[in-house]
Amino acid sequence: MILLVAILSGLAAGLCLARLQKRPWTIPPLRKPWLVIIAFLPQFFYMYLPATRTRVPDNLAAAGLIISLVLLLIFCWFNLRLSGVWLLALGLAFNLLVIAANGGFMPISRQTASRLVPPETLATLGNGDRFGYKDILLLPEQTRLNWLSDHLLPPEGFPYQVAFSPGDMFIAAGAFWLMATQGKPMEAGKNKIAKDTG
């Protein structure tokens, strides 16, 4: 949800910039976008599709998530020439590191999770249980690379409560930047403005 907002706000910023610079907005020219579709498939079946996610053992789901993230890193490597992709790749690498270091799921502490679900729901879950789509409940002292885990939260009282990782922040920033600049280097954009204004 927060990541989709980053894409939409980047798109809006890109459209405004294009209008200011009197040029059409074009989608960033991505190389090998089919890699993303392939990377999505394990997550779709193991994490999102209710009919299959309950039947898949946790270790297979964890392996699927890691394979999916590795495929996305390869996609980033093919598209590094586009501005913003390095930020996407950095965020992805952070998430992949912490997920791989903690058995294939994103760790979340009970304290952080308590802001997302009612206490009675949380009471039914034990340490090491899966939480939500990609997370696993772990004590902070059991978590490897805890600083990269889902430990960040919006201010208390904010209407939409979500736990996110530093990697998610980089991914959101990268998606915004990529959409706003259409993947073109910022310097090229500045030169274009300088040329237009004489």
Binding site: P33, V36, Q43, L72, N95, A113, L178
Partner: protein, 47 residues
């Protein structure tokens, strides 16, 4: 009915390969952030 079919035919003629490429690239970007990110709002769990 005939006019509706004719309108639909005209609309499909306006969709060219560039539109499909744009839609595919947008889909790829959306799927990328959905796959790469791991924010959790507890949405899957019963409240």
């Amino acid at each position: 009915m005939k006019t509706q079919i004719a309108k639909l035919f005209l609309f499909t003629q306006k969709i060219n390969s560039q539109h499909i490429q744009i839609a595919f690239a947008l889909l790829a970007l959306v799927l990328f952030v959905v796959c790469a990110g791991a924010p959790e709002d507890g949405g899957l769990l019963p409240h």
